[in-house]
């Protein structure tokens, strides 16, 4: 029977036939944790009686969440993670050289087409942008992979998502995945995989694909995948850390259903509190004053995101009542943004620029919200209390809407700030 992309990958990594709904054991190509999830993983690893990770070149720890260490307890966790990585000889990159795991690991060529990637972080699904089966797990599951080099999976059914039409200039990956969320909701793909296709997809740059795959988990999905194409391979050629064998969906594969997103004529979208599926056009958000704008995260902290924010902020000022925080998602992105003059633009506009970290996205540090405050954020979740006080609010958007809102002091569509663009 013809295979979906997920089945095509799993069939190469498992001794069993990956029939949908069946449980299978599969070899894992790369497995990582961060400074929060490493600690319980290390404890479980020890309790398992494991001594060595299955392959130190395929196991990693990335200090990205509460780093640079936000307090003593966070520093202790980061230290434990660092010491374990050194003891095991695993991949580890120190602050100043690292980035948010889901931006940094693809850059370093550790997420590759046809591979199975497990990370102790839900946004591990970002790796699906490169045609990997990449999924988030908890710390004990990750410890089991470190110990055994394999995992168990329930083979998901797949929903095919087709982006069709002509993409307007101000529409990016974030708008496309928010459109999917508005159609299928926060559990529309629970226990399933998403496979992205369609004429818009074929022309979509990697950064937009990362954003889309990143938020697959917000639909409940186990993974969100793009079949590798020329764009994927061109992007990977200078980066791949290992040889790899891409997998492709087969003609005639059976999909649980198809969701078509008509992109022509779309205007930028936002997700209003407190659900990523509470989506409407930014133009229809109504008068929503904002206290803070955050441009960054594993969702939208890449170079093209910063470029779009710079397009809005060039020669303009952040509204006097707004704190605008910009955090490039990796060291490489930070360096490129500096070289291209984006950082100058942000600082001239009155924004804060910080070193790569997850920071405020999960309410860790570097921009926590007080009671009653509202933030427009390019991150991925706007749950109650996500970025601070339980009575604060997060509005999710792409970088154009976020930067426009920073200038306007309220949720704004880019056309309101860039009238002649």
């Amino acid at each position: 029977m013809a295979k979906t992309l997920v089945q095509a990958i799993l069939s190469k990594k498992s001794a069993e036939t990956p029939e949908e709904g069946a449980l299978c054991r599969a070899r894992v190509d790369f497995a990582f944790a961060n400074d929060i999830t490493a600690s319980p993983a290390i404890r479980s690893f020890r309790e398992m009686g494991a001594e060595k990770v299955f392959d130190p070149a395929r196991c990693a720890v990335l200090p990205d969440h509460f780093t640079p260490n936000k307090d003593i307890a966070a520093a202790e966790q980061a230290k434990e993670a660092r010491e374990f990585a050194l003891e095991q000889g695993m991949l580890y990159w120190e602050q100043g050289r690292v980035g948010i795991e889901h931006a940094f690991l693809p850059e370093q060529g550790h997420i590759l087409p046809g591979e199975i990637i497990l990370g102790a972080d839900s946004h591990t699904c970002t790796g699906g942008a490169l045609g990997a089966f990449a999924t988030g797990v908890g710390s004990t599951d990750l410890a089991a992979v470190w110990a055994l080099g394999e995992t168990w999976l329930r083979v998901p059914t797949t929903i095919k998502v087709r982006f069709e039409g002509e993409k307007p200039k101000n529409i990016g990956g974030k708008d496309l995945i928010l459109a999917v969320l508005s159609l299928i909701g926060v559990q529309g793909a629970r226990y399933r995989a998403l496979e992205f296709s369609g004429e818009v997809t074929a022309r979509l740059p990697m950064d937009d694909r990362f954003t889309i795959a990143n938020m697959a988990v917000e639909t409940g999905a186990k993974a969100g995948l793009f079949a590798p194409d020329r764009t994927t391979l061109d992007w990977l050629t200078p980066r791949a850390a290992r040889t790899f064998e891409p997998a492709h969906p087969e003609k005639g594969a059976r999909y649980e259903k198809e969701v078509v997103v008509e992109v022509s004529g779309m205007t930028p979208l936002v997700a209003l509190p407190h659900s990523p599926a509470n989506v409407r056009p930014a133009l229809e958000a109504g008068l929503m004053p904002v206290d803070q704008v955050f441009i960054g995260s594993c969702t939208n902290g890449r170079l093209s995101d910063l470029e779009q924010a710079a397009r809005v902020l060039r020669g303009r000022k952040v509204h006097p009542s707004v704190r605008c925080i910009v955090i490039p998602a990796s060291r490489e992105i930070f360096a490129d943004a500096l070289r291209l003059g984006f950082i100058d633009i942000f600082i001239e506009a009155g924004a804060v620029v910080c070193t790569p970290t997850c920071g405020p996205c999960l309410g860790g540090h570097m921009g926590i919200l007080a009671k009653g405050e509202r933030c427009v954020s390019t991150s991925n979740r706007n749950f109650v209390g996500r970025m601070g006080h339980p009575d604060s609010e997060v509005v999710l958007s792409g970088p154009l809407v976020a930067a426009s809102s920073a200038v306007a002091g309220r949720v704004a569509d880019p056309s309101e700030v860039l009238p002649n663009d």
Binding site: T37, M48, E76, T140, W152, V186, Q187, R190, G220, G363
Partner: protein, 170 residues
Amino acid sequence: MTRIIRGKAWVFGNDVDTDVIIPARYLVTSDPERLGEHCMEGLDPAFPAKVAPGDFIVAGDNFGCGSSREHAPLALKGAGCGGVIAASFARIFFRNAINVGLPIFECPEAAGTIAAGDLLEVDPSSGTITITGSGRVFHFAPFPTFIEGLVAAGGLIPFVRRELEGRRAR
């Protein structure tokens, strides 16, 4: 997991996410008891003080959606929660709960019927949830065989330990 669990129901809605189960600002420890002090704080700040050992969380669809933090089932365990009954679970939370030994029961009928404060009795071996007051009984389906095996082994940790011992012996 054969022990009968008895406790009171604390009822929540759909899509209870891991940020409200345990906000990220508390993830500077993975000690269940310390995490338990802030459990469900995002929805009910008084919950950790009110919940008694064995009490159940009862919720709608997609319980535990969001982050992969294993701290979420650990916080529920640390708060003394006897288990979670939900119409459905988000997939990472489901795995994490099995792995750390937090009892979870997927039963849409029970989740839709149980009212806040109901006294419940859950018998994992017979697959039944009983509302003590009315005597109403709900049945939940057993896990797939492999997952039952994980539960019976005491969770993923002993399962992997056995696997590693087997590999060393070979």
